[in-house]
Protein backbone atom coordinates (compact mmCIF):
# COMPACT_ATOMS: atom_id res chain seq x y z
CA UNK A 1 0.00 0.00 0.00
CA UNK A 2 1.30 3.45 -0.82
CA UNK A 3 0.57 6.66 1.07
CA UNK A 4 -1.85 7.85 -1.60
CA UNK A 5 -4.09 4.86 -0.96
CA UNK A 6 -3.90 5.16 2.80
CA UNK A 7 -7.07 7.20 3.28
CA UNK A 8 -9.33 5.18 0.98
CA UNK A 9 -8.03 1.91 2.36
CA UNK A 10 -8.49 3.03 5.94
CA UNK A 11 -12.08 3.93 5.20
CA UNK A 12 -12.74 0.58 3.54
CA UNK A 13 -11.10 -1.29 6.41
CA UNK A 14 -13.08 0.61 9.02
CA UNK A 15 -16.32 -0.46 7.33
CA UNK A 16 -15.14 -4.08 7.32
CA UNK A 17 -14.18 -4.00 11.01
CA UNK A 18 -17.58 -2.56 11.94
CA UNK A 19 -19.32 -5.16 9.81
CA UNK A 20 -17.43 -8.01 11.47
CA UNK A 21 -18.13 -6.53 14.90
CA UNK A 22 -21.81 -6.45 13.95
CA UNK A 23 -21.60 -10.10 12.89
CA UNK A 24 -20.02 -11.05 16.20
CA UNK A 25 -22.65 -9.08 18.17
CA UNK A 26 -25.98 -10.48 19.31
CA UNK A 27 -27.90 -8.65 16.59
CA UNK A 28 -26.12 -8.78 13.26
CA UNK A 29 -28.85 -7.28 11.01
CA UNK A 30 -29.70 -4.36 13.32
CA UNK A 31 -26.10 -3.43 13.96
CA UNK A 32 -25.21 -3.68 10.28
CA UNK A 33 -27.99 -1.21 9.47
CA UNK A 34 -26.42 1.24 11.90
CA UNK A 35 -22.92 1.24 10.36
CA UNK A 36 -23.39 4.38 8.19
CA UNK A 37 -25.02 6.20 11.12
CA UNK A 38 -22.33 5.16 13.58
CA UNK A 39 -19.62 6.36 11.22
CA UNK A 40 -21.38 9.64 10.38
CA UNK A 41 -23.66 10.55 13.27
CA UNK A 42 -25.91 13.61 13.26
CA UNK A 43 -24.00 16.92 13.12
CA UNK A 44 -20.74 15.09 12.59
CA UNK A 45 -17.98 16.49 10.47
CA UNK A 46 -18.37 15.79 6.73
CA UNK A 47 -14.86 14.89 5.69
CA UNK A 48 -15.19 14.04 2.03
CA UNK A 49 -18.53 14.72 0.35
CA UNK A 50 -21.21 17.39 0.15
CA UNK A 51 -23.30 16.37 3.14
CA UNK A 52 -23.71 13.73 5.81
CA UNK A 53 -26.46 12.00 3.80
CA UNK A 54 -24.25 11.37 0.81
CA UNK A 55 -21.49 10.14 3.10
CA UNK A 56 -23.91 7.69 4.66
CA UNK A 57 -25.16 6.62 1.23
CA UNK A 58 -21.64 5.77 0.17
CA UNK A 59 -20.93 3.97 3.45
CA UNK A 60 -24.08 1.92 2.91
CA UNK A 61 -22.71 0.88 -0.50
CA UNK A 62 -19.33 0.02 1.01
CA UNK A 63 -21.09 -2.10 3.64
CA UNK A 64 -22.96 -3.91 0.86
CA UNK A 65 -19.65 -4.85 -0.75
CA UNK A 66 -18.48 -6.07 2.65
CA UNK A 67 -21.57 -8.24 2.81
CA UNK A 68 -20.56 -9.66 -0.57
CA UNK A 69 -23.20 -8.07 -2.76
CA UNK A 70 -22.90 -6.33 -6.09
CA UNK A 71 -23.44 -2.62 -5.54
CA UNK A 72 -24.62 -2.17 -9.12
CA UNK A 73 -27.63 -4.40 -8.34
CA UNK A 74 -28.51 -2.62 -5.09
CA UNK A 75 -32.23 -2.16 -4.50
CA UNK A 76 -32.11 0.95 -2.35
CA UNK A 77 -35.48 0.22 -0.76
CA UNK A 78 -33.98 -2.85 0.90
CA UNK A 79 -32.34 -2.02 4.23
CA UNK A 80 -28.85 -3.09 5.23
CA UNK A 81 -30.47 -5.20 7.93
CA UNK A 82 -32.29 -7.22 5.28
CA UNK A 83 -29.11 -7.50 3.22
CA UNK A 84 -27.25 -8.77 6.30
CA UNK A 85 -29.90 -11.45 6.70
CA UNK A 86 -29.63 -12.35 3.02
CA UNK A 87 -25.85 -12.67 3.28
CA UNK A 88 -26.35 -15.35 5.92
CA UNK A 89 -28.68 -17.29 3.64
CA UNK A 90 -26.35 -17.19 0.64
CA UNK A 91 -24.97 -20.57 -0.39
CA UNK A 92 -22.55 -19.47 -3.09
CA UNK A 93 -20.57 -16.23 -3.29
CA UNK A 94 -20.88 -13.93 -6.31
CA UNK A 95 -18.51 -15.05 -9.10
CA UNK A 96 -17.34 -11.58 -10.16
CA UNK A 97 -15.04 -10.20 -7.50
CA UNK A 98 -15.19 -6.45 -8.14
CA UNK A 99 -17.98 -3.90 -7.85
CA UNK A 100 -18.17 -0.12 -8.28
CA UNK A 101 -19.78 2.25 -5.78
CA UNK A 102 -21.53 4.54 -8.22
CA UNK A 103 -22.29 7.15 -5.59
CA UNK A 104 -18.59 7.28 -4.69
CA UNK A 105 -17.44 7.39 -8.32
CA UNK A 106 -16.52 10.97 -9.07
CA UNK A 107 -17.46 10.45 -12.73
CA UNK A 108 -14.11 11.99 -13.58
CA UNK A 109 -13.74 14.05 -16.73
CA UNK A 110 -12.95 11.83 -19.70
CA UNK A 111 -9.26 11.65 -20.56
CA UNK A 112 -8.31 14.68 -22.65
CA UNK A 113 -5.50 16.99 -23.74
CA UNK A 114 -5.98 20.43 -22.23
CA UNK A 115 -4.25 23.79 -22.53
CA UNK A 116 -3.80 25.14 -19.00
CA UNK A 117 -3.71 28.81 -18.08
CA UNK A 118 0.06 28.60 -18.14
CA UNK A 119 -0.31 29.25 -21.90
CA UNK A 120 1.81 32.33 -22.59
CA UNK A 121 0.02 33.43 -25.74
CA UNK A 122 3.30 33.21 -27.66
CA UNK A 123 3.94 34.45 -31.16
CA UNK A 124 5.25 31.21 -32.63
CA UNK A 125 2.20 29.13 -31.64
CA UNK A 126 3.95 25.76 -32.00
CA UNK A 127 0.87 23.94 -30.69
CA UNK A 128 -1.35 25.15 -33.52
CA UNK A 129 1.34 24.50 -36.07
CA UNK A 130 2.08 20.92 -34.98
CA UNK A 131 -1.53 19.77 -34.69
CA UNK A 132 -2.30 17.62 -37.69
CA UNK A 133 -6.00 17.62 -37.01
CA UNK A 134 -6.68 21.33 -36.87
CA UNK A 135 -7.96 20.91 -33.33
CA UNK A 136 -6.25 23.96 -31.83
CA UNK A 137 -7.48 27.50 -32.25
CA UNK A 138 -6.66 30.75 -30.53
CA UNK A 139 -9.39 32.27 -28.39
CA UNK A 140 -9.10 35.26 -26.06
CA UNK A 141 -5.32 35.25 -25.93
CA UNK A 142 -4.95 31.53 -25.31
CA UNK A 143 -4.79 28.28 -27.25
CA UNK A 144 -7.88 26.14 -26.99
CA UNK A 145 -8.32 22.51 -28.01
CA UNK A 146 -11.51 21.42 -29.72
CA UNK A 147 -12.25 18.00 -28.15
CA UNK A 148 -14.28 16.94 -31.20
CA UNK A 149 -11.23 17.16 -33.42
CA UNK A 150 -8.51 16.22 -30.92
CA UNK A 151 -7.11 12.68 -31.34
CA UNK A 152 -5.13 12.89 -28.06
CA UNK A 153 -1.87 12.25 -29.92
CA UNK A 154 0.00 14.59 -27.57
CA UNK A 155 2.05 16.33 -30.29
CA UNK A 156 1.05 19.77 -28.99
CA UNK A 157 2.22 18.79 -25.49
CA UNK A 158 5.69 18.04 -26.82
CA UNK A 159 5.67 21.16 -28.97
CA UNK A 160 4.72 23.66 -26.25
CA UNK A 161 7.98 25.23 -25.02
CA UNK A 162 6.32 26.14 -21.70
CA UNK A 163 4.95 22.69 -20.91
CA UNK A 164 1.57 24.38 -20.61
CA UNK A 165 -0.43 21.58 -22.19
CA UNK A 166 -1.36 18.51 -20.15
CA UNK A 167 -3.05 15.20 -20.75
CA UNK A 168 -5.50 14.21 -18.03
CA UNK A 169 -6.36 10.58 -17.36
CA UNK A 170 -9.14 8.69 -15.64
CA UNK A 171 -7.22 6.80 -12.93
CA UNK A 172 -9.16 3.54 -13.10
CA UNK A 173 -9.15 3.41 -16.91
CA UNK A 174 -5.48 4.30 -16.93
CA UNK A 175 -4.58 1.58 -14.42
CA UNK A 176 -6.51 -1.21 -16.13
CA UNK A 177 -4.15 -3.19 -18.36
CA UNK A 178 -6.95 -4.71 -20.44
CA UNK A 179 -9.45 -1.89 -20.98
CA UNK A 180 -12.09 -3.55 -18.81
CA UNK A 181 -13.17 -0.48 -16.85
CA UNK A 182 -14.60 2.55 -18.62
CA UNK A 183 -17.04 5.35 -18.03
CA UNK A 184 -20.56 4.64 -19.22
CA UNK A 185 -22.74 7.13 -21.07
CA UNK A 186 -23.48 8.91 -17.78
CA UNK A 187 -19.81 9.24 -16.91
CA UNK A 188 -19.67 6.57 -14.16
CA UNK A 189 -17.13 3.77 -14.15
CA UNK A 190 -18.37 0.34 -15.17
CA UNK A 191 -16.53 -2.95 -15.18
CA UNK A 192 -16.94 -5.20 -18.20
CA UNK A 193 -16.87 -8.62 -16.55
CA UNK A 194 -16.04 -10.39 -19.81
CA UNK A 195 -12.83 -8.39 -20.11
CA UNK A 196 -11.93 -7.99 -16.41
CA UNK A 197 -9.02 -10.15 -15.19
CA UNK A 198 -9.76 -9.20 -11.55
CA UNK A 199 -6.25 -7.90 -11.00
CA UNK A 200 -7.54 -5.10 -8.76
CA UNK A 201 -5.33 -2.35 -10.17
CA UNK A 202 -8.44 -0.13 -10.42
CA UNK A 203 -9.21 -0.75 -6.73
CA UNK A 204 -5.85 0.75 -5.77
CA UNK A 205 -5.91 3.44 -8.45
CA UNK A 206 -9.25 5.13 -7.72
CA UNK A 207 -8.60 8.15 -5.47
CA UNK A 208 -12.24 8.06 -4.35
CA UNK A 209 -12.06 4.41 -3.31
CA UNK A 210 -15.02 3.65 -5.53
CA UNK A 211 -14.02 0.13 -6.57
CA UNK A 212 -14.59 -2.58 -3.98
CA UNK A 213 -14.13 -6.30 -3.65
CA UNK A 214 -17.27 -8.25 -2.83
CA UNK A 215 -16.15 -9.80 0.40
CA UNK A 216 -16.68 -13.37 1.55
CA UNK A 217 -15.93 -12.47 5.13
CA UNK A 218 -19.48 -13.23 6.31
CA UNK A 219 -19.56 -16.57 4.47
CA UNK A 220 -16.33 -17.63 6.21
CA UNK A 221 -17.22 -16.35 9.68
CA UNK A 222 -20.63 -18.00 9.42
CA UNK A 223 -19.04 -21.39 8.81
CA UNK A 224 -16.63 -20.91 11.69
CA UNK A 225 -19.54 -19.94 13.94
CA UNK A 226 -21.48 -23.03 12.87
CA UNK A 227 -18.60 -25.09 14.22
CA UNK A 228 -17.46 -26.41 10.85
CA UNK A 229 -13.87 -27.52 10.41
CA UNK A 230 -12.47 -24.49 8.58
CA UNK A 231 -8.93 -24.56 7.19
CA UNK A 232 -6.80 -21.53 6.32
CA UNK A 233 -4.45 -21.86 3.37
CA UNK A 234 -2.07 -18.95 3.73
CA UNK A 235 -0.31 -17.35 0.78
CA UNK A 236 3.49 -16.97 1.14
CA UNK A 237 3.07 -13.17 0.97
CA UNK A 238 1.13 -13.13 4.27
CA UNK A 239 4.38 -13.49 6.24
CA UNK A 240 5.25 -9.95 5.09
CA UNK A 241 1.95 -8.33 5.97
CA UNK A 242 1.31 -8.99 9.65
CA UNK A 243 2.97 -7.36 12.65
CA UNK A 244 4.40 -10.61 14.04
CA UNK A 245 6.80 -13.45 13.33
CA UNK A 246 5.86 -16.17 10.82
CA UNK A 247 5.61 -18.62 13.71
CA UNK A 248 2.96 -16.51 15.49
CA UNK A 249 0.52 -16.63 12.58
CA UNK A 250 -0.79 -20.12 13.38
CA UNK A 251 -1.82 -19.22 16.91
CA UNK A 252 -3.53 -16.02 15.70
CA UNK A 253 -5.51 -17.93 13.07
CA UNK A 254 -6.51 -20.57 15.61
CA UNK A 255 -7.87 -17.73 17.73
CA UNK A 256 -9.95 -16.57 14.75
CA UNK A 257 -11.42 -20.06 14.66
CA UNK A 258 -9.50 -21.86 11.94
CA UNK A 259 -9.01 -25.51 12.80
CA UNK A 260 -5.86 -26.05 10.71
CA UNK A 261 -3.40 -23.83 8.91
CA UNK A 262 -1.46 -24.79 5.78
CA UNK A 263 1.23 -22.72 4.18
CA UNK A 264 0.58 -22.47 0.45
CA UNK A 265 4.38 -22.55 0.20
CA UNK A 266 3.91 -26.30 0.70
CA UNK A 267 2.19 -26.47 -2.69
CA UNK A 268 4.75 -24.06 -4.13
CA UNK A 269 7.38 -26.75 -3.64
CA UNK A 270 5.32 -29.04 -5.87
CA UNK A 271 4.71 -26.27 -8.42
CA UNK A 272 8.45 -25.58 -8.62
CA UNK A 273 9.46 -29.19 -9.20
CA UNK A 274 6.58 -29.83 -11.62
CA UNK A 275 7.37 -26.67 -13.53
CA UNK A 276 11.07 -27.55 -13.76
CA UNK A 277 10.19 -30.98 -15.15
CA UNK A 278 7.67 -29.49 -17.56
CA UNK A 279 10.26 -26.96 -18.72
CA UNK A 280 12.86 -29.64 -19.32
CA UNK A 281 10.46 -31.70 -21.44
CA UNK A 282 9.45 -28.66 -23.42
CA UNK A 283 13.04 -27.64 -24.14
CA UNK A 284 13.88 -31.20 -25.17
CA UNK A 285 11.02 -31.20 -27.64
CA UNK A 286 12.26 -27.91 -29.09
CA UNK A 287 9.95 -25.36 -27.46
CA UNK A 288 11.38 -21.82 -27.70
CA UNK A 289 10.19 -20.71 -24.26
CA UNK A 290 7.75 -21.37 -21.43
CA UNK A 291 5.88 -19.02 -19.13
CA UNK A 292 5.06 -19.66 -15.49
CA UNK A 293 1.48 -20.39 -14.50
CA UNK A 294 0.99 -19.42 -10.86
CA UNK A 295 -0.31 -15.83 -11.12
CA UNK A 296 -4.10 -15.80 -11.27
CA UNK A 297 -4.19 -12.39 -12.94
CA UNK A 298 -1.94 -13.67 -15.70
CA UNK A 299 -3.96 -16.87 -16.11
CA UNK A 300 -7.13 -14.79 -16.53
CA UNK A 301 -5.29 -12.61 -19.03
CA UNK A 302 -4.32 -15.67 -21.07
CA UNK A 303 -7.88 -16.98 -21.00
CA UNK A 304 -9.58 -13.71 -21.93
CA UNK A 305 -7.08 -11.71 -23.97
CA UNK A 306 -4.03 -13.72 -24.90
CA UNK A 307 -5.12 -17.26 -25.94
CA UNK A 308 -2.25 -17.41 -28.44
CA UNK A 309 0.26 -17.73 -25.60
CA UNK A 310 -1.61 -20.63 -23.95
CA UNK A 311 0.54 -23.33 -25.64
CA UNK A 312 3.60 -21.79 -23.98
CA UNK A 313 2.15 -21.61 -20.45
CA UNK A 314 3.41 -24.29 -18.09
CA UNK A 315 0.97 -27.10 -17.31
CA UNK A 316 2.02 -27.03 -13.66
CA UNK A 317 -0.81 -26.10 -11.33
CA UNK A 318 -0.63 -23.21 -8.90
CA UNK A 319 0.74 -23.59 -5.35
CA UNK A 320 -2.81 -23.05 -4.08
CA UNK A 321 -4.06 -25.95 -6.20
CA UNK A 322 -1.60 -28.45 -4.73
CA UNK A 323 -1.97 -27.16 -1.17
CA UNK A 324 -5.76 -27.36 -1.32
CA UNK A 325 -5.52 -30.88 -2.69
CA UNK A 326 -3.35 -31.94 0.25
CA UNK A 327 -5.62 -30.18 2.77
CA UNK A 328 -8.76 -31.80 1.37
CA UNK A 329 -7.12 -35.21 1.34
CA UNK A 330 -6.19 -34.88 4.99
CA UNK A 331 -9.52 -33.30 5.99
CA UNK A 332 -12.16 -34.35 3.44
CA UNK A 333 -15.10 -32.65 5.16
CA UNK A 334 -13.37 -29.38 5.91
CA UNK A 335 -14.09 -25.97 4.45
CA UNK A 336 -10.95 -24.48 2.88
CA UNK A 337 -10.25 -20.74 2.81
CA UNK A 338 -7.42 -19.22 0.83
CA UNK A 339 -5.86 -16.17 2.50
CA UNK A 340 -4.91 -14.06 -0.49
CA UNK A 341 -2.85 -10.95 -1.23
CA UNK A 342 -4.95 -10.13 -4.28
CA UNK A 343 -8.40 -10.16 -5.85
CA UNK A 344 -7.50 -12.16 -8.94
CA UNK A 345 -7.33 -15.44 -7.03
CA UNK A 346 -11.12 -15.20 -6.63
CA UNK A 347 -11.53 -16.51 -10.16
CA UNK A 348 -9.15 -19.39 -9.57
CA UNK A 349 -10.90 -20.30 -6.33
CA UNK A 350 -14.22 -20.31 -8.15
CA UNK A 351 -12.94 -22.90 -10.62
CA UNK A 352 -11.34 -25.12 -8.00
CA UNK A 353 -13.73 -27.33 -6.02
CA UNK A 354 -11.01 -27.93 -3.41
CA UNK A 355 -11.03 -24.28 -2.33
CA UNK A 356 -14.29 -23.03 -0.88
CA UNK A 357 -13.61 -19.41 -0.05
CA UNK A 358 -11.16 -16.58 -0.26
CA UNK A 359 -10.30 -13.93 2.30
CA UNK A 360 -7.85 -11.25 1.31
CA UNK A 361 -5.22 -9.80 3.67
CA UNK A 362 -7.26 -6.66 4.33
CA UNK A 363 -10.27 -8.75 5.31
CA UNK A 364 -8.17 -10.95 7.57
CA UNK A 365 -6.70 -7.79 9.11
CA UNK A 366 -10.21 -6.49 9.78
CA UNK A 367 -11.16 -9.79 11.44
CA UNK A 368 -8.09 -9.59 13.68
CA UNK A 369 -9.03 -6.05 14.74
CA UNK A 370 -12.67 -6.91 15.33
CA UNK A 371 -11.75 -9.92 17.44
CA UNK A 372 -9.08 -8.00 19.34
CA UNK A 373 -6.33 -10.47 18.49
CA UNK A 374 -2.96 -8.97 19.34
CA UNK A 375 -0.55 -10.58 16.89
CA UNK A 376 2.70 -9.97 18.68
CA UNK A 377 1.49 -11.65 21.86
CA UNK A 378 0.51 -14.85 20.04
CA UNK A 379 2.41 -18.05 20.75
CA UNK A 380 5.13 -19.17 18.41
CA UNK A 381 4.60 -22.50 16.72
CA UNK A 382 6.47 -23.78 13.68
CA UNK A 383 4.53 -25.19 10.73
CA UNK A 384 4.47 -28.99 10.54
CA UNK A 385 5.59 -28.98 6.93
CA UNK A 386 8.85 -27.11 6.42
CA UNK A 387 8.61 -25.34 3.09
CA UNK A 388 11.73 -24.65 1.05
CA UNK A 389 13.49 -21.32 0.77
CA UNK A 390 12.35 -20.90 -2.83
CA UNK A 391 8.72 -21.71 -2.05
CA UNK A 392 8.69 -19.09 0.69
CA UNK A 393 10.05 -16.57 -1.79
CA UNK A 394 7.43 -17.32 -4.47
CA UNK A 395 5.76 -14.06 -3.54
CA UNK A 396 8.75 -11.95 -4.57
CA UNK A 397 9.25 -10.91 -8.15
CA UNK A 398 11.73 -13.30 -9.75
CA UNK A 399 11.03 -15.84 -7.02
CA UNK A 400 9.14 -18.32 -9.16
CA UNK A 401 11.83 -18.32 -11.85
CA UNK A 402 14.45 -18.86 -9.12
CA UNK A 403 12.51 -21.82 -7.75
CA UNK A 404 12.37 -23.46 -11.16
CA UNK A 405 16.11 -22.90 -11.49
CA UNK A 406 16.69 -24.47 -8.08
CA UNK A 407 14.60 -27.52 -8.95
CA UNK A 408 16.17 -27.79 -12.39
CA UNK A 409 18.03 -31.02 -13.04
CA UNK A 410 19.55 -30.37 -16.47
CA UNK A 411 22.40 -28.19 -17.69
CA UNK A 412 22.63 -25.10 -15.51
CA UNK A 413 23.08 -22.63 -18.37
CA UNK A 414 20.04 -23.92 -20.22
CA UNK A 415 17.64 -21.86 -18.06
CA UNK A 416 17.50 -18.22 -19.08
CA UNK A 417 14.93 -16.47 -16.90
CA UNK A 418 13.03 -13.38 -18.03
CA UNK A 419 10.98 -11.58 -15.41
CA UNK A 420 7.78 -9.76 -16.36
CA UNK A 421 7.52 -7.62 -13.25
CA UNK A 422 3.94 -6.38 -13.49
CA UNK A 423 1.33 -6.59 -16.22
CA UNK A 424 0.60 -3.39 -18.09
CA UNK A 425 -0.19 -2.52 -21.67
CA UNK A 426 3.49 -2.64 -22.66
CA UNK A 427 4.31 -6.00 -21.08
CA UNK A 428 1.13 -7.52 -22.53
CA UNK A 429 2.22 -6.29 -25.95
CA UNK A 430 5.61 -8.00 -25.44
CA UNK A 431 4.00 -11.27 -24.40
CA UNK A 432 1.71 -11.16 -27.43
CA UNK A 433 4.73 -10.67 -29.65
CA UNK A 434 6.59 -13.63 -28.11
CA UNK A 435 3.56 -15.82 -28.81
CA UNK A 436 3.14 -14.53 -32.34
CA UNK A 437 6.80 -14.94 -33.28
CA UNK A 438 7.19 -18.16 -31.34
CA UNK A 439 10.34 -16.78 -29.74
CA UNK A 440 11.45 -14.60 -26.89
CA UNK A 441 14.68 -12.73 -27.59
CA UNK A 442 15.67 -12.21 -23.95
CA UNK A 443 15.40 -15.74 -22.53
CA UNK A 444 13.36 -18.92 -22.35
CA UNK A 445 11.73 -19.08 -18.92
CA UNK A 446 9.29 -16.20 -18.60
CA UNK A 447 8.01 -15.50 -15.12
CA UNK A 448 4.85 -13.41 -15.21
CA UNK A 449 3.65 -11.51 -12.14
CA UNK A 450 0.62 -9.29 -12.50
CA UNK A 451 1.73 -6.96 -9.69
CA UNK A 452 5.07 -5.15 -9.85
CA UNK A 453 7.21 -6.56 -7.05
CA UNK A 454 5.27 -9.84 -6.95
CA UNK A 455 2.44 -11.01 -4.69
CA UNK A 456 3.82 -9.03 -1.74
CA UNK A 457 2.49 -5.95 -3.52
CA UNK A 458 -0.87 -7.49 -4.31
CA UNK A 459 -3.77 -5.07 -4.34
CA UNK A 460 -5.24 -6.33 -1.07
CA UNK A 461 -2.01 -6.19 0.94
CA UNK A 462 -1.61 -4.30 4.22
CA UNK A 463 2.01 -3.32 4.85
CA UNK A 464 4.65 -1.68 2.71
CA UNK A 465 6.60 -3.41 -0.03
CA UNK A 466 9.92 -2.73 1.68
CA UNK A 467 8.99 -4.29 5.03
CA UNK A 468 7.19 -7.18 3.38
CA UNK A 469 10.16 -7.88 1.15
CA UNK A 470 12.46 -7.98 4.14
CA UNK A 471 10.22 -10.27 6.21
CA UNK A 472 9.58 -12.70 3.36
CA UNK A 473 13.28 -12.87 2.41
CA UNK A 474 14.32 -13.37 6.04
CA UNK A 475 11.83 -16.21 6.36
CA UNK A 476 13.06 -17.64 3.05
CA UNK A 477 16.67 -17.64 4.24
CA UNK A 478 15.71 -19.87 7.14
CA UNK A 479 14.34 -22.53 4.79
CA UNK A 480 16.30 -25.29 3.12
CA UNK A 481 16.99 -24.71 -0.57
CA UNK A 482 15.29 -26.93 -3.15
CA UNK A 483 18.74 -27.35 -4.63
CA UNK A 484 19.91 -29.19 -1.50
CA UNK A 485 16.77 -31.28 -1.33
CA UNK A 486 17.16 -32.25 -4.96
CA UNK A 487 20.59 -33.70 -4.21
CA UNK A 488 19.17 -35.73 -1.37
CA UNK A 489 16.49 -37.43 -3.41
Amino acid sequence: MSSSELETKRLKREVLVRLIKAFLSDNFPANTRLIPFDMRPKYSEVPFRCCVYKERGILRARTLAGLGFSIEDDDETVSLAEYAQKSLERVKPDPNPLTVVESACHSCQAARVYVTDLCQNCVARPCMNTCKFGAISHVDGRSVINPEKCKKCGMCMTACPYGAIVKTVVPCENACPVGAIAKDERGFARIDKDKCISCGKCVSACPFGAVHAKSQVIDVLKKIKQGKEVIALIAPALIGHLPCTPEQIQDALHKVGFAHIYEVAQGADITATTEAKDFQERLESGAPFMTTSCCAGYNELVKKHLPEIKPYVSDAHTPLYYTAEIAKKEHPDAVTVFISPCFAKRREVLDNPNVNHLLNFEELGAILIAMGIEMNTCEEKAFTYQSSREAREFALTGGVAKSVQAAWKGEKDAVKPVVVNGLDKASIRDLRMYAKNGSCPSGNLIEVMCCPGGCISGNACIGTFKEAFKKVSDYGEKGQSLEDRKENC
Binding site: S3, R10, V17, G365, A366, I369, E374
Partner: protein, 85 residues
Protein backbone atom coordinates in the same frame (compact mmCIF):
# COMPACT_ATOMS: atom_id res chain seq x y z
CA UNK B 1 19.36 17.31 24.82
CA UNK B 2 18.13 13.78 24.20
CA UNK B 3 16.54 12.74 20.97
CA UNK B 4 12.82 13.32 20.41
CA UNK B 5 11.18 9.93 20.82
CA UNK B 6 8.67 8.98 18.12
CA UNK B 7 6.87 5.73 18.78
CA UNK B 8 4.70 4.20 16.10
CA UNK B 9 2.25 1.68 17.38
CA UNK B 10 2.52 -1.62 15.52
CA UNK B 11 -0.19 -3.44 17.41
CA UNK B 12 -2.62 -5.32 15.17
CA UNK B 13 -5.10 -2.45 14.84
CA UNK B 14 -2.59 0.29 14.14
CA UNK B 15 -0.66 -1.90 11.74
CA UNK B 16 -3.72 -2.83 9.70
CA UNK B 17 -4.95 0.77 9.67
CA UNK B 18 -1.72 1.96 8.07
CA UNK B 19 0.93 2.09 10.83
CA UNK B 20 3.51 0.33 8.68
CA UNK B 21 3.03 2.83 5.85
CA UNK B 22 3.37 5.78 8.23
CA UNK B 23 6.51 4.32 9.74
CA UNK B 24 8.21 3.69 6.44
CA UNK B 25 7.39 7.12 5.00
CA UNK B 26 8.21 8.95 8.19
CA UNK B 27 11.64 7.36 8.35
CA UNK B 28 12.35 8.57 4.82
CA UNK B 29 10.90 12.04 5.22
CA UNK B 30 12.59 12.90 8.51
CA UNK B 31 16.10 11.94 7.48
CA UNK B 32 17.20 15.56 7.88
CA UNK B 33 16.38 15.20 11.60
CA UNK B 34 18.04 11.79 11.85
CA UNK B 35 20.40 12.87 14.64
CA UNK B 36 17.64 14.62 16.60
CA UNK B 37 14.80 12.13 16.60
CA UNK B 38 14.44 8.43 17.19
CA UNK B 39 11.69 6.49 15.45
CA UNK B 40 10.78 3.18 16.99
CA UNK B 41 7.95 0.67 16.76
CA UNK B 42 5.86 0.03 19.83
CA UNK B 43 3.66 -2.86 20.80
CA UNK B 44 -0.04 -2.11 21.26
CA UNK B 45 -0.27 0.95 23.47
CA UNK B 46 -3.88 0.29 24.35
CA UNK B 47 -5.41 3.31 22.64
CA UNK B 48 -7.66 1.21 20.44
CA UNK B 49 -9.45 -0.74 23.17
CA UNK B 50 -12.52 1.49 23.61
CA UNK B 51 -15.54 0.62 21.48
CA UNK B 52 -14.95 2.90 18.47
CA UNK B 53 -11.41 4.01 19.09
CA UNK B 54 -10.02 1.53 16.58
CA UNK B 55 -11.27 3.87 13.85
CA UNK B 56 -8.81 6.53 15.03
CA UNK B 57 -5.83 4.23 14.43
CA UNK B 58 -2.97 4.38 13.68
CA UNK B 59 -1.73 6.01 16.89
CA UNK B 60 1.68 7.62 17.09
CA UNK B 61 3.45 9.02 20.15
CA UNK B 62 5.73 12.01 19.89
CA UNK B 63 7.23 12.03 23.39
CA UNK B 64 4.10 12.05 25.60
CA UNK B 65 1.74 13.46 22.97
CA UNK B 66 -0.68 10.92 21.48
CA UNK B 67 -1.60 11.50 17.85
CA UNK B 68 -4.72 9.72 16.67
CA UNK B 69 -5.67 9.10 13.02
CA UNK B 70 -1.99 9.71 12.50
CA UNK B 71 -0.88 10.91 9.12
CA UNK B 72 2.46 12.30 8.02
CA UNK B 73 1.37 15.92 8.24
CA UNK B 74 0.26 15.63 11.88
CA UNK B 75 3.28 13.61 13.01
CA UNK B 76 5.84 15.81 11.30
CA UNK B 77 4.17 18.93 12.74
CA UNK B 78 4.38 17.44 16.24
CA UNK B 79 8.05 16.54 15.74
CA UNK B 80 8.91 20.00 14.47
CA UNK B 81 7.09 21.60 17.39
CA UNK B 82 9.37 19.67 19.76
CA UNK B 83 12.49 20.50 17.81
CA UNK B 84 11.72 24.24 17.92
CA UNK B 85 11.59 24.22 21.69
Amino acid sequence: MGKVQVKICQGTTCYVMGGDVIKSLLTTLTQKYADKIEITSARCLGNCNESDSFSKAPYVYVEDEVISSADLEKVIAAIEKRLDK
